[in-house]
Amino acid sequence: MVNYVVETRGLTKVYSNGVEALKGIDIRIREGEIHTLLGRNGAGKTTFIRIIATQLMPTSGEAYVYGYDVVKEADRIRSKVAVVPQESKTYNFTTPWHEVYLAARIWGYGRVEARKKVEEVLKRLELWEHRNKLCIQLSGGLRQRTLLARALVTDAELLILDEPTIGVDPVGRRRIWEFIREIRDLGKTIILTTHYMDEAEEISDRVTIIDSGKIVAEGTIEELLSIVRNGIKIYVYGDDVGEKLGNWSPRNVDGRWIINVSNEEELIEAIRDALSYGYRATIKPPDLEDVFINLVGEMYEE
């Protein structure tokens, strides 16, 4: 039997300035999975997770976390959830130790137990050697990891991470992905938001694509990729591609030309054409970005 950690029905949020951030969200998030909310900036991801994290009141609809109503039973939810809010920061003049120790104490650990927990989590996230450094001296990746540690030390069953890798360099992002997977393997449920396609594809068990306050698609990566199963892309590099390969309707995106083909025959033919003009061509299998563009429209790519 599948246990759902989060369930919402017809969830809406209209802000006081009239902005309709959520337009009837129905979602079910399973226990023990990494569930990613993918969408553009302003799509409604943060509004959604702020509601389920009991930081924001919904306008209408229902939302339950571990079966508790987010409006009426927020206190019960708060002991089971830990959050890394979007663009949250550590204080400059605290240390990773103090940041994480605060969370351990707030979640009710006694001094001795809190120290043990902090040590364990800092070691797990490879922050132990940095524990006494001022946060201002840490790299963006280490600071972000500190915030992750602050959420992890709580032993909360559900971790909500809002854009956890924003502003982190590529190597740092990969380390954070590894940690998120490790946390999932400890039996936690993780909900994260991102607008990075590669991040969603790399670490998610399931993905929900949100756009303009509505759910556009939901499923595993495989299920989502099946939407564009035949959408093979060929990248062509060179001058006058638009003119010479005009019969393939290439699109210029960021200085490179993209040709979409739907089967092997077309693929071979298009590549043969491109090579005949001396162009360089590479093939890319469909990915989440293609799914996203297919569902949400070309605007994102442009």
Partner: protein, 245 residues
Amino acid sequence: MRSSLRRILAYAHYSIIPMIKQPMQIITLVGYIFLPMIFMAIFLRDTGAIHGLIGVLVNSAVLSGVFTSQDYVYNRIYFRLQDFLVSSPMKSWEYVAGVTLSTYIIMTPSLALSLVVLYYFHVISSVISLLITLIILLVGGIGFSFLGYLIGTLTNNPTTVNGLSNILVLVLGFLAPVYYPMDLIPPNYRAYTLILPSTPIPELLRQIYHISETCFNIWILGILVIIWNILFIGLSIKVAYWREK
């Protein structure tokens, strides 16, 4: 109750770490609060020093509450710490208590120093006198801490809150008769200064220490302090929010 106390202490401890890591900040803060008192001592000798020390007491224990508004705004807007805390077992009142406690801890050096010097001058001459002083400061401090919370809730811009709290403390703590006695104000204008929420507290202390020459009734001053407290607390409860609407 025990877990509430734990959370309050944990937050207060966390919140003072940046000050402990920058001890020069505490020295600057103490110097800033004592500066008007030093000028009072230069120009008015012992009497000026005593009045100035009362100003130090009130500024340290009471008006510092206004500066907590900066904590609330920065924690909510810049650090996003409030979002983290809202989704935790911490209650809003525990958070306010933690912020207030941390401010008191930071102000302890100037508070203790001024109490010791007032004792040395025999202004605070008994344990009862000391207790009454602490109770007045505590009651006043609670009210102003709620004022800080109120400002912090109503302000969404860190730049605005910095300016606002500094101007408020300048008016309420330095221009108003806090460091200097109300006797220095022309008699016809003295009653008007009581409109300011910071004025009744030092005047009450001066009346208790028998160093005021004004004829305000001690009970009226006490009632004024309580009225301001009720106003600040009431407004905070009505306006402030923990979970965003």
